[in-house]
Symmetry: D2
Subunit: 349 residues, 4 copies
């Protein structure tokens, strides 16, 4: 059994990791770190985890973790992992970081979008960006540090990859990514007026319209697929629901193709990938279809009137968009079956 620890165990992503790891056959949870709730039982902080055997929430003592953990999941805020990663790697632990710290390959880009200096830019090239379906399996063999992708970049990267790699996107056109997310993406510690139930219920809005931090991550993914830099227009919105992301992607086509041809492209591209489901032409997925699942479902169609490919992808932002993909990365890291411990079917209604 691999011994795993979670730093930031009481956040929405952290507690989802706990829930999934409890059902995983090859790991043992040895440590749950919570800087704000240490000393308490996690079942008292998060009653939905009652009924499970779990270690108590412990304070953050970075130097002692490697004695009890082979692998650490880092579910802290941006800027946290970079402070400790070098030491932990040296102590021999593997790390899966769910923050943005190691996602961007360029330290300057990171600093300009996140407004914090990077503490260990030398590790950016080593970090493996773990958007699993777009990453060669062989790259996991020597990996020690995995940057778990952002939720929007996961949904959008999977929506764009087949089109980009096929070279079907018109080079001059702008790709518009209009994305919508449930509120849990904001996290459990965002206790401000803006995130109160009464402010968001029966309400819908865009946010960070002109500058959202996931923009460079989406562009970096696209560049590695296209082989050249590109610019996307990314607008996130907040849906009055808890879980789920739907990304509506508008890509101008280089040459005319039919909806059926587009569908074949996607179907072939994702053949054999258990967590990506391509829908029939004209059939588009809803977020509920992947609620609580690690799947990404994708629907495609061509708008012949405007020569645009319309691609709609859905994920559960806490699963494939965070904790689920982190487990999938762990499975790849240890050479286990990709689906181990991860639900494929969703919880509905």
């Amino acid at each position: 059994m691999v011994k795993v620890g979670i730093v930031g165990a009481t956040g929405y992503t952290g507690s989802e990791l706990v829930r999934l790891l409890l059902g995983h056959p090859k790991v043992e949870i040895t440590t749950l770190v919570s800087r704000s709730e240490s000393g308490r039982a996690i079942r008292d902080v998060l009653p939905h985890l009652r009924g499970a055997e779990l270690p108590p929430l412990s304070p953050f003592e970075p130097d002692s973790l490697s004695r009890v953990c082979d692998l650490l999941f880092l579910a802290g805020e941006n800027g946290f992992a970079m402070q400790h990663a070098p030491a932990w790697l040296e102590q021999g632990m593997k790390l899966i970081d769910l923050s943005a710290d190691f996602r961007l390959k360029d330290a300057q880009t990171f600093e300009s979008w996140y407004s914090i200096p990077h503490r260990c830019p030398d590790y950016l090239s080593e970090a493996l960006y773990g958007l699993v379906e777009l990453t060669e399996t062989s790259r996991y063999e020597k990996a020690r540090l995995i940057a778990n992708p952002g939720c929007y970049p996961t949904a959008t990267g999977l929506a764009l990859a087949p089109l980009a790699q096929a070279g079907w996107i018109a080079p001059q056109g702008v790709i518009v990514v209009d994305a919508k997310s449930g509120v849990s993406g904001a996290g459990r510690s965002k206790a401000t007026t803006d995130y109160l139930f009464s402010e968001l219920n029966d309400n819908f809005k865009a946010y960070n319209v002109l500058k959202h931090r996931h923009t460079p991550e989406i562009e970096q993914n696209l560049q590695s697929l296209l082989g050249e830099p590109t610019r996307i227009r990314f607008t996130p919105h907040l849906i009055p629901m808890t879980r789920g992301i739907l990304s509506t992607v508008y890509a101008p086509l280089k040459t005319p193709v039919s909806s059926e041809e587009l569908h074949s492209l996607y179907d072939d591209y994702y053949a054999g990938r258990p967590f990506v489901q391509t829908r029939a032409p004209g059939d588009f997925p809803a977020t509920r279809h992947v609620y609580g699942s690690n799947r990404c479902d994708i629907g495609v169609g061509v708008d012949e009137r405007t020569s645009m490919a319309i691609v709609i992808s859905v994920i559960d932002n806490l699963m494939k968009g965070a904790a689920g993909q982190a487990i999938q990365n762990m499975n790849c890291l240890y050479g286990w079956e990709e689906t181990l411990g991860l639900p494929i079917t969703a919880v509905a209604p």
Copy 2:
């Protein structure tokens, strides 16, 4: 007092007309027609209207309406108004039709998108398309038949008008309209599995992705502003909430402008219009800001990285998107103050 009747009084739009007309100082509701519920008191069908004095729901007897009504609001399904409008106009009544029957100027376009033959295409040119802020006041003077705009075309038309009339949109680029609506737009009679609470709650999806009927109406509005035909890419989505539309519009710019210049354009364009509120640059509205109000709030910004104008507009689909704008049209028709009987502030939280 002008005597008004409502045909289709128990639908979501019809009952919202009732509520607003009850508070209007210059009209008297003489007739409430409901084909499905005739004979009942509206307070028993729709308890939210309890406490008001209202005529009973009457059966549909088209020939007797002109005896008791000066003005009819037609809140029936598409294809209904066109069957009776010519006779009613001949009998001297004024008509405000909330269906799609008289919105499109071209009968062929209507028939190709709505899949029903038009019964009185000769009246399409006479019908006044009542997107009030985009219609010259003088055109109301002789109007008898008003086509009340669709909800998406209202939100989108108001979002695009200043840009289009200023000639700032790049002629070759595609305008992307990514719109999101609350569920009440589907109406009260849509009792199918797809619209059940358990299917839509905590769920988000696109619908009619490749072909939605509001596309030609939006294009017709744009053409009359631009002076030439154009193509837009319009994608509607369904939000798990009852009321509200948010339209995110991406328009490629002909020449670079700043967010501040864009804001000034909108601010000037809508100066003096009580129901359109332009937000400061970078401030974007939420649907809740106009819930229960006849307002349309608009936020604008320029994405310099992609040379795109981003315009976000919000309306309450049952108010400015349907019943509220119908009352506004009535006010214009009779030369009354535009705001009479219409709430400007919204109900929040």
Copy 3:
């Protein structure tokens, strides 16, 4: 025009007062006090109020208010009004306090349930408890200080009054009040994890189960109707919705009566009261029926198997449960028509 000010104008109750007063024909809003947002325009803090002419948010300067206000609405937290009321009354202003400070007649009871000392217990007897339908009109004539009732006590008091005054309740039995509220009752400043959207959406729970502060207020109301002390069992719950309270009241009957007799009792009791609507026997109201309205709708029935009267009442907690009733109290205070400026029909769907 009566000059009114609101202290606490940016809270949920305060801003609802603003919205209602804007539509009231006999008042002028001269002052909006916000201790946290002074200096800003209220339209920037609360965009749903855009489009209205309003004074800027001013700091709290208690001594200057009487120069510009005839009447103050106090929408602050518990313990605030009692600090200033005596001075303000002396300066000649009338006060309508929406906090709990003057609701209980007994200072000791107040202190034991609210855990703060009362600063001016001498004013408790003067304060008029303004549950309008249960208060003789003549008592408003000399009133200067009105204690606006709590939301739960309003819904529950109206549900119990006819039964209690008729003497139909079994003297030994316990009255069970199982009440459910939308989240807006918690207020806009309650920015803690517990009230985040993601915590409350698709969730339901009881709170303050063994001791809720509205218990003594409900008992005080019941005692004044029954003429003797009584004990109720009151349990509040939180509904994943924004507005609305539904109170399910179980009262053991002294002697058998039919549902029809019970209905007649209520119908007679509330005859002529514009804001209370009694439903037909077996017809029970939903919270949406009074959303945005100042109404209280009541449904009644008898469970013959257990000899219990079941009474279900609904209000909008921000309207009849707070701001709406405060306006109604103002109307009574000045001898205006009770319904002035107050919506009777509700906003639905």
Copy 4:
């Protein structure tokens, strides 16, 4: 592997059975019957089940089922199972019926509350009522036909059992059960106006107030615990959320006990039961704590002012209230570990 079939596989309960059985290590799903959707792939009807290997939806051919099934789950409407159960039992299949057909022991009581004649009253005594925690394990040994309990009776029975068996309830007092449910309990086929999203969102109401069919089932459970007939007052309400039941139970106490004593009673009673979690005194559960789990969490307290025990229980109505408990019953029927294939932790937020 036990071969199982599901009749009614596309309903909310049926599809939840499918999802759970997919993860169960000792069964194989051989047959999915859907009378309305036969011939289609279940992944096309219910996309949340995509990614799983499942047989196609087949028409209902009652005589052929025993050739491919050892066990049938019956997830049809009331009145369906009783038509076929005798023949199926004779053919050697075991049956778990999720309808009400075999829950009540008395055919007359069934007929008076359900208004349909019972087709095989002789089987009522044989049927094992499977509220697992209240049923002796030995009774499963010879069982062939299990009546899976209703959702409200499950939540309420577990809330009342310790109090009832301890003899702590005052014999003359009325037990009030004020229950609240998410909308999914109404089922997927209830496509009427009343269950539309726009009618129920941001709304709360009671339903079937004076006569709900779960009343006699709750009373039957209570009678078997108390040893004598009793009467409860049961009122169900509809919460604007999809899953979850919360039952607030008010039981008059025979003699005074403290909250701590009450808590000990419950803690002891449910010691060792994996799916029932007793909360600390004064800690009451929320429905989200058991969302997607088979748990029932219970909080207790004593209101000394009224001598009442307050017990609040929560379940997921589709899990412990339907499909989850059906799997639990299957586990007991075959002598497998009770928790096999059933989640204990919940999906949150």
